[in-house]
């Protein structure tokens, strides 16, 4: 089995978010970057588990500049066998999807893994785009994935429940909580990650169809209004008359 896991680099969950004065760009100064949690904890780990059970290889792919290589090495430390970096700023979901699809097109992957979304742009777009470009089935929000020969079974999170389904290989899947348990890279993994192959590929041209006009911060909350715990009628009154939510 040959698995591709697409990993994204995102600001840490706790990072303070700010933008350039013109609001055009994310301000990366002082921000700690991490591997997108859904990519790391669920997609990458499940691909590694399946490789361990069935044999084959796991390729970790990132679209990003050379500074992302720390994150890519972490994917190798967790268990990917090799890595590919497409040497470009990941400008948009459509750009990233195009790069991934063009790379994957001739590589005969049995499955292509994504996290359910990235924690920065929260779009959940790339997996569906890659699936469409490559004419593959796409199973999103999968909380369970098992392979049985040439077929795969999934559980997929839907509103208020779960869908159980089956698809033939190859497929594209996006992983949500439950597909695997987070793995902490061990010392051996960290050591071997240094010497595993990391190939750099140049991007293919792409024409953007969406421009960023600007980023802004949401208006600050007015601050919490504390209500006397003995007087819940007052809280109900505030929710009805001031907040108008009941």
């Amino acid at each position: 089995m040959k698995f591709l896991v697409c990993i994204s680099q995102t600001p840490d969950t706790t990072a303070k978010i700010s933008f350039s004065a013109d609001g055009k760009e994310f301000n990366a100064a002082g921000v700690q970057f991490i591997m997108n949690p859904y990519d790391e904890w669920y997609a990458l780990v499940r691909a590694c588990e399946l490789r361990e059970a069935l044999g084959g290889s796991v390729v970790a792919l990132n679209v990003g500049p050379a500074s992302n290589e720390t994150t890519i090495r972490k994917a190798l430390a967790i268990g990917a066998d090799e890595a590919v970096r497409i040497n470009a700023e990941p400008k948009s979901a459509a750009f990233v999807a195009k790069q991934i699809a063009e790379y994957a097109r001739n590589e005969q992957f049995d499955a292509i893994f994504f996290g359910k979304e990235t924690i920065d742009y929260n779009g959940s777009e790339v997996g569906a785009m890659v699936a469409e470009i490559l004419d593959l089935p796409y199973i999103s929000y999968a909380s369970k994935l098992d392979l049985n020969g040439n077929a795969a079974t999934f559980e997929r999170d839907i509103e208020g429940g779960v869908e159980v389904l089956e698809a033939d290989l190859p497929f594209v899947v996006s992983a949500s909580k439950g597909m695997a348990e987070q793995r902490i890279p061990n010392m051996r993994g960290i050591m071997t990650a240094r010497t595993k192959p990391l190939k750099v590929v140049e991007p293919v041209p792409f024409e953007e169809q969406v421009e960023t006009v600007k980023f802004s911060l949401p208006p600050a909350k007015a601050g919490v209004k504390l209500v006397d715990p003995e007087n819940m009628d007052e809280l109900v009154r505030l929710l009805h008359e001031d907040a108008k939510v009941i």
Binding site: N122, V162, K177, V210, L217
Partner: protein, 320 residues
């Protein structure tokens, strides 16, 4: 023309579809055009979509669409969009819509903005739309420059407006090819509004001390017609079912009212709930970080405060 895909899980149009059509009608008004709604598979009361603003309702009454497959759904929607010259295609930002939106963008060679939270600004026929990014910590504004735009609409971003007239649904056929996904089973919690659609959510955390204490939370939710949720540690300890977990790794929600009971408010939790319109926090620890993100706070023992709040809501409901 603005084309809205009105999803009908298990044969029923739900709030997400009504919101999407209401939104589609408003976008159509901004563009000086009309709004067409499309349903796929068996659907009851498709004509209702007219009331939300569709001037035309199309239905592909092919039972093979009763099983969701993003590939076939996207093919059918794109086919209808092309045949009708749609300039904007709108889907709901749900498990269904999110699986389709990216595919539609590729098929229609269209710019996509997913999870839009408000109406677009229109200039020279181009749409500029807003969405929240960085898990609710920022807002981004995007302009779509391609001739066709695809948008997915965040839940609870617009109030469904049923002031129009119903329109008889017109049956059409599409060529969506054959599917490669076989749905084996769908397990849902019937009788409860799913979390992403809920307008009021009552959520509880480790402060509850034990799963057997959840009665007061369920009673409060019952009074309010709310959906119950929980924090990650509670789901991880199997005190509550996994599908109730809201937060970064769980479900992101944006109800009108979020009542957090005994939840400290870790940043990962806030990432999933900070787009709620109004947040009420009940916690005995005045230093709980959640109070910083709250609109209303009650510092007190939840085992006393929650039943008291429930009584207060009951009294309010009885007199209104």
């Amino acid at each position: 023309m603005v084309l809205v895909f009105a999803e009908s899980p298990r044969g029923h149009l739900k709030k997400a579809a009504f919101e999407a059509v209401t939104y589609g009608k408003k976008v159509a008004d901004l563009l000086g055009t009309s709004c067409t709604a499309l349903t796929l598979g068996t659907v009851d009361q498709a004509a209702e979509l007219g009331r939300y603003g569709a001037s035309k309702v199309l239905n592909v009454a092919d039972a093979s669409f009763d099983q969701f497959d993003s590939q076939r759904f996207a093919a059918a929607i794109a086919d209808v969009a092309k045949n009708n010259g749609a300039k904007v295609v709108i889907v709901s930002h749900t498990s269904t819509g999110k699986s389709i939106a990216g595919r539609l963008a590729v098929r229609l060679d269209a710019g996509l903005v997913s999870g839009v939270s408000g109406l677009p600004e229109v200039s020279g026929g181009q749409l500029t739309v807003k969405k929240t990014v960085f898990s609710g910590k920022a807002i981004a504004e995007y302009r779509i420059t391609s001739p066709v735009s695809v948008l997915s609409l965040m839940g609870n971003a617009i109030k469904p407006d049923a002031s129009g007239q119903s329109v008889a649904a017109e049956n059409i056929s599409t060529n969506a090819g054959s599917g490669r996904i076989r749905v084996k089973d769908v397990r849902t919690q019937e009788g409860r509004v799913p979390l992403p659609e809920a307008e009021i959510v009552v959520s509880a955390g480790r402060g509850m001390k034990d799963p057997s204490n959840w009665g007061i939370v369920e009673d409060l939710a019952e009074t309010l017609g709310a959906t119950t949720a929980c924090s990650r540690p509670v789901a991880d300890s199997d005190w509550r079912p996994h599908h109730e977990h809201v937060g970064q790794t769980g479900i992101a929600i944006r109800p009108n009212l979020y009542i957090a009971i005994g939840i400290s408010g870790a940043i990962q939790h806030l990432a999933g709930v900070n787009n709620s319109k109004v947040i009420v926090v009940i916690n005995k620890d005045p230093e709980a970080p959640f109070f910083k993100a709250a609109d209303y706070g009650v510092v007190g023992d939840l085992f006393e405060v929650v039943p008291r709040l429930n009584e207060a809501f009951k009294k309010f409901k009885a007199s209104n």
